[in-house]
Symmetry: D2
Subunit: 288 residues, 4 copies
């Protein structure tokens, strides 16, 4: 990193933000934290005094908690998001994850330069790595067979499917990809994976020990769930509303694990590093 | 493939089209060839009589040769493209590779349903596979060291870079990727590859034994070529105008191989299969 | 498998033996179980009557429990190993895991044809697969970083090291191997892994996030443990006496997980399949 | 490398020895060459005067040419092996490749400390890497299909099979291993490769596009060759007498390439580095 040392405030958040603060300090920046009292290795400021002199203020992912509060699960007390923003000066850079319309409005009112790091493509690509590892960990924990030689289906071949499927294969699983678009199936074939269109999914679901869904659309309904092999495990990695009919699964006795927000759960320190890299990119693009 | 048996004419082309015709016949279609007399295993029709009854007529890649002729290097004689099209009926499906404006105009005049298979994303993705293999073959042939433990740089991380870099790494090379966009570098990192932005390329070129360029823009100029390690090999895979200043390379004594159109050269049968799959997709989308 | 259908008794054991019995039945053999009442999907015989007509009797891994008992954790009651053997006929094939001197003596007295499947090289090679997966699962569970981009050391490059190190690398870890013999280091290099001799291990231990030991000898003593990076995780996969000085680790605050017998714990069904394959090999070699 | 700077003579040989000399000089040793006049970058001594002061004299691989001569294809003239040895002093270390009984006798007469580097296991393991790459290069050059998606059989799963099969698979080939011993098949399975015993090889040979033999025994006779698919390519990597009945292959029209001594041919510089590492090991073990 070629950045000059900066003054950076990390305000609120979970272990990812605590890790972010530590990594920024390791890079030589002057780092202040607030509302992170219970984070590992952080010494928090008693107030936001001085935060208006920061080159960059980093808010958590997501930035907002319930009812206008800052998302600050590691803080000893509650903080209003509006109060945090009031402590800043017009024109100041604020990086937030999943900013949302309300935060955007509040930032605009105060003429803050708000950037959403979670909306950036590079973070989405990087987050697929811990998500894939978390999915593999769950499969290892839940199955009485090895991933080696297991038959696995990955539904969807976007960023997450492309991170997950080759890792499963590298561990010895026999991996197929179900994807709608021809070029996605071509990409899967290029990685040495089998592929199929989603049209007759129910016809060939019976051969899998393990099914990962990455598509946030109703792909595994009654018909598909009923077609699964006995003892098969379904891991749904799709964000809300998910891709599995959970009621049908319960009725049919199909084991489904809906795993959300894996990066922060399985690898908070790595997730903090990805946020750091992304914040750097934002500052570089602003010539900060 | 769920397609019903079709009547398909394969007209003109190189060993890829000869392979295509054989593979279509293997799939149970009624296949006729024309202007492919010297192709392996093909028995050509003496004329285009009956071609107007075909469900699909496949022209080569590229479809046109010089001066309005059909591209037909395996034919015993020359054929005018216009004459080929005159033998067809209005509304008939014609699949051609790199059709070009002139062929499009001629097809429109005759009310033919022209589709360019080379313009389809899935063929571009698949063609990256033989291109990557061909690039690896050239590197193996030219270098007095193994790819194992060689230091290799891949410039660009589009379809070809994503096919090539993991293959090099799987063979034991130490691979870095140079890419402009952050998300491309994130994708490279996710595959376990090192990555860098292209800004100070000349500063770190000295450490590579092998440089592959995939970007059709002037990326390796005098400064970059002068920075290369002695004995380093440059393989330019970019389509015209290429990415290497060949005059500068010659003056500096840098070994550069500009490798174009590898799929048809290194793997004509596989390339024919990819064309077949893509033609099937076109027919499926037209409900043929 | 070309074996004719056999009469096989599976006597005692844990979920691996229950899986073994089910898999043998799937292959078309006539299977009887005993002392496996709580095993999933097994219907046990009330006594060993008829066991003397079996082509093969399979005892668990290990075969013996405490004080002369059969190892039968899934049985409703206790069984004496001697009584089990008394139910068999001279010359009958008995396959047992980790038979041990006492069982060998008892089998010899009864003129049974005892074979130790756990002593066979192919089972040891196969068992390295679930052991490696289990080790990866533990690392994923324990570390706040991804294995991707983590720096990992694998001490020893025998069967287990050769299963574990490439898997770690395939997941994106930066993997080094420490091995004494030059040819082991050459084998590691051939797989694209870094390698070092064990001589100055303490000098370079500081760079690892994760250390796996596979050598059943004291390799990580006070000096080495003190050299580890703060927060590093040590996973000891070596059978007794292990390779880590646990007292020193506790005193130094180094986190060590001593993971024994992973195959049966993380993948009992796969382990049962491996035992099945190995028992088949024994029968093949005896022309049964 | 912790070795102190040495005085090393490299005498005779092919481009591997020329590379060896250059690499030794790069490591800071005082290097003299003789009988390598046409080697790239070598300035040869006019005579062997002073060679008796060397810490180590390295002879080529193989050391002996025809009729008692030094193997020196890059020399301007011929040299008798006996004369070379006469220039050395009793007790001096001489490292030679494939020394052979005659050289051993001559060295013993002169009380030289002869070590055969080619007999060392680590060099054999390392040489499997360029052999595997060379085999892949040949397959790429000869086949009209990509290795990606090709069906490949590797006969034998020793050092070479273990280097070759995973590389083929990493390139996307569908790879099976034929090996006699159960533990070799278990090792293949552990790497995610299919495996079979060699018993009914002829029954399933028909499905392969590509067959690599690594076993120096008659494995591909008339029956097996006749079973091959039309157009299949056989690459025999076994040292003399090879594993393919070449007369039968010619009669049957099966294409066979018998590829010997690939490391020196496809990667002389890498081969020179492997010899260097092995010579270092010999010196280390002698505490030189």
């Amino acid at each position: 990193m070629m950045l000059r040392a900066k003054n950076i405030w990390v305000v609120g958040g979970d272990p990812r933000q605590a890790a972010l603060a530590a990594l920024l300090a390791d890079d030589g920046h002057s780092v202040h934290t607030y509302a992170l009292e219970r984070g590992e290795g952080t010494r928090c400021e008693p107030s936001l005094a001085g935060a208006d002199r920061a080159d960059c203020v980093v808010l958590p992912l997501p930035a907002a908690g319930a009812e206008g509060r800052l998302n600050a699960p590691l803080s000893a007390r509650e903080h209003r998001l509006a109060q945090v923003l009031d402590a800043l000066r017009p024109g100041q850079l604020v990086c937030a994850g999943m900013a949302g319309a309300e935060l955007e409005r509040m930032a605009a009112e105060r003429e803050l330069l708000l950037r959403d790091y979670f909306a950036r493509e590079e973070l989405a690509v990087l987050n697929a790595i811990p998500t894939a590892e978390g999915a593999i960990q769950i499969a290892m924990e839940e199955l009485p067979i090895t991933l080696h030689d297991a038959r696995a289906l990955v539904i969807g071949f976007g960023r997450l499917g492309r991170a997950l499927a080759p890792r499963l294969r590298a561990l010895g699983a026999r991996v197929w990809v179900s994807a709608r678009r021809y070029e996605q199936r071509a990409a899967a074939e290029g990685m040495g994976l089998g592929s199929e269109g989603p049209d007759r999914l129910a016809d060939w679901l019976c051969s899998y020990d393990l099914v990962f869904n990455t598509v946030p659309a109703p792909v595994l309904g009654v018909e598909e769930l009923a077609a699964l092999k006995e003892g098969a495990l379904v891991i749904d990695l799709a964000s809300r509303p998910g891709g599995v009919n959970l009621e049908a699964a319960a009725a049919l006795g199909v084991r489904v694990i809906w795993a959300l927000s894996l990066p922060g759960k399985v690898a908070p320190v790595t997730s903090g590093r990805y946020i750091k890299d992304t914040v750097y990119h934002i500052m570089e693009e602003l010539d900060l």
